[in-house]
Point group: C2
Chain length 419, copies 2
Amino acid sequence: MSGSESAVLTTLTTAARHAATSLSRSSDEQRARALRGAARVLRARMSALLDANQKDLMGLSAERNDAFRDRLTLTPERIEAMAAGVEAVAVLPDPLGRVLAEWTQPNGLQFRRVAVPLGVIGMIYESRPNVGADAAALCIRSGNAVILRGGAESLHSAREIHRAMVEGLTQEGLDPCSVQILPSADRALVGALLQAVDGVDVIIPRGGKGLVERVQREARVPVLAHAEGLCHTYVHQDADLEMARQIVVNAKLRRPGICGATETLLVDRVIAPALLPPLVAEMSEKGCAFRADKRAQAIVPALPAAQPDDFATEWLAPVLSIAVVDDVEGALAHIARYGSGHTEAIVTENPQAAELFLNGTEGAVVMWNASTQFCDGGEFGFGAEIGIATGRLHARGPVGLEQLTSYRYEIRGKGQVRG
Amino acid sequence: MSGSESAVLTTLTTAARHAATSLSRSSDEQRARALRGAARVLRARMSALLDANQKDLMGLSAERNDAFRDRLTLTPERIEAMAAGVEAVAVLPDPLGRVLAEWTQPNGLQFRRVAVPLGVIGMIYESRPNVGADAAALCIRSGNAVILRGGAESLHSAREIHRAMVEGLTQEGLDPCSVQILPSADRALVGALLQAVDGVDVIIPRGGKGLVERVQREARVPVLAHAEGLCHTYVHQDADLEMARQIVVNAKLRRPGICGATETLLVDRVIAPALLPPLVAEMSEKGCAFRADKRAQAIVPALPAAQPDDFATEWLAPVLSIAVVDDVEGALAHIARYGSGHTEAIVTENPQAAELFLNGTEGAVVMWNASTQFCDGGEFGFGAEIGIATGRLHARGPVGLEQLTSYRYEIRGKGQVRG
């Protein structure tokens, strides 16, 4: 990176650090009101936001497909939903100041572990403008300063959304630099952000595998993210067949494009002849395609053969990989080889098998007799999420307000000194 | 790094990952027994360990000072203490499987957040051989695989200690690769370890500022650490003078070389004329030197003047920087400028001032009417610590067994699918 990017970034991170300190001392009510103010501005400036979005759409390369264009497009309904989303974060319980643990030592010192903000968050996302509003709302609510970097194609929209957040903050007397935006689409600035170990406490990338993997590869700042959700549903031999059918159909087909969608079905060999033929028939009818190993093909010969990489592929589409396994250990070995540590599910009526499975995978989220599509902050009761993490450090699974906090220890004494 | 270092490291991390998976499925009793076994081996092989340590000492460069040589030296008493330390970790409560949160959603799904190991830990330390034994014990107890890298000067000692840990593990049928050691003093291997984002989940450096800063600068794997403990004790105008005197003397002089020692005394101007003269006299008598700002010099003219960098210096010695401030905000501003986010203390009888201070610094640990020397895992009741962290992500303050865990979500259903 050149000196000028580094200078721009230092200006941003210095302001962010200052804002974070000030936000951490603001009241819950101030932060909530700032969000309600930002939502009002989003609605009041709807036509300016639509104009900005129009500029982004006009500038879009003809090579971008319809799905990309759709993700970038704002409508009055989508802006209303964005404003409502910001308001929804305002009514969530304050994640700061929670006493996470409390004890007294024999010498009378009183210890408290108390939730505090993380500090400065770098949020890198793609073309969907509402992600910027959601992320800014969650960060403000949790007392964190945030530096937003949306997709280069959505810069005008992102700037309008940023402006609304800043107005909400200033109306409450909060530091406007609590939410900043990278001032240009310059990729080198993103590189500088990813390296800013002193200025940024955590980077949260949200988008496709390409974006997340690039961030993970280049960042020196710690990253909370998941690159892919290669989720498995395993039907154990003691499964209720009807329950298994419903779960697998839902886990794959409810919304095949979300990260919690099941990509691979594992079936115990004992139950596979009963489960697979009707299940494949039903899912085929619903438009699902398949990639099957030899043992599954032996049961349903019409199934197309899986290619070597298929079990390592996150389809994000109505395509299901199928493998027949011997038992729980066989399923765990398959998942150890191909899983991405996101969400893994077992369907069984056998509690021992379930516990063995739940304790045996690397999944951030493990389920027993439920659809992997439930891996979502809303379904967890978190109210909103900024992303889903599959790393081991700090937060795993859906990242909501609580996960955007750290803690400090407060020790209250009466003059104790150490012997 | 060359291809060969990378290949060596991949071998180590692959074995570590495998061991971590197997350890995460082992029983608490197995892990505790492995530690007791390792302690027995440490005692049984005491003479071999003393011989190995002798080799290290013979190889030591003449430039190393006595303090360095002392840290490296093992004696029968120190080996006994090391074995007892490993046994002490064995009797701590199991940090795994704790249910950190539990709730049920309206659709009947039961959620549990359960403590699981972090995975693979890279432990980088300096010359004190017992750090390797302590770290290995804490990692095994918490179900984590660890790759140890001690100081190049202590390689023979480290290998003997490693051997004892491995024997303890194998006696229990646990994977011996749960504890590994970098096979040579090759610095390039350390570089490879710091870059191994897929193979290592967290790096914990323990040693001087030079080591920690080098690790923080070079690592792409997340780091749990503190580079320095530039701790402040602030005496507020409403302090009990006698309590303040006792706390300051203890916070500075009990053990000036630990990271929780106070380096800078901040005093409210109103109380400074009453506090400083007798305090400086007493501490001078106890061998303490001083670096004072102009306002403190105006009260005690004999105090030597602070140089520009003095307030940014972690003395780790009987030297105290002194500054007079106007009030709590003045103290907070000083700490914001010079603090390292480690431990900050206020002495006051005024609860409002105390709360303002506790909520206003970036300290991982903040204290009211207590000596900063209490910042230590043992004093917190953690039983043992692998280090102290000042970052925002994952763990802050003393890092004990609990802090060496992550969590997963377990969701138990009865066939629920998402609508």
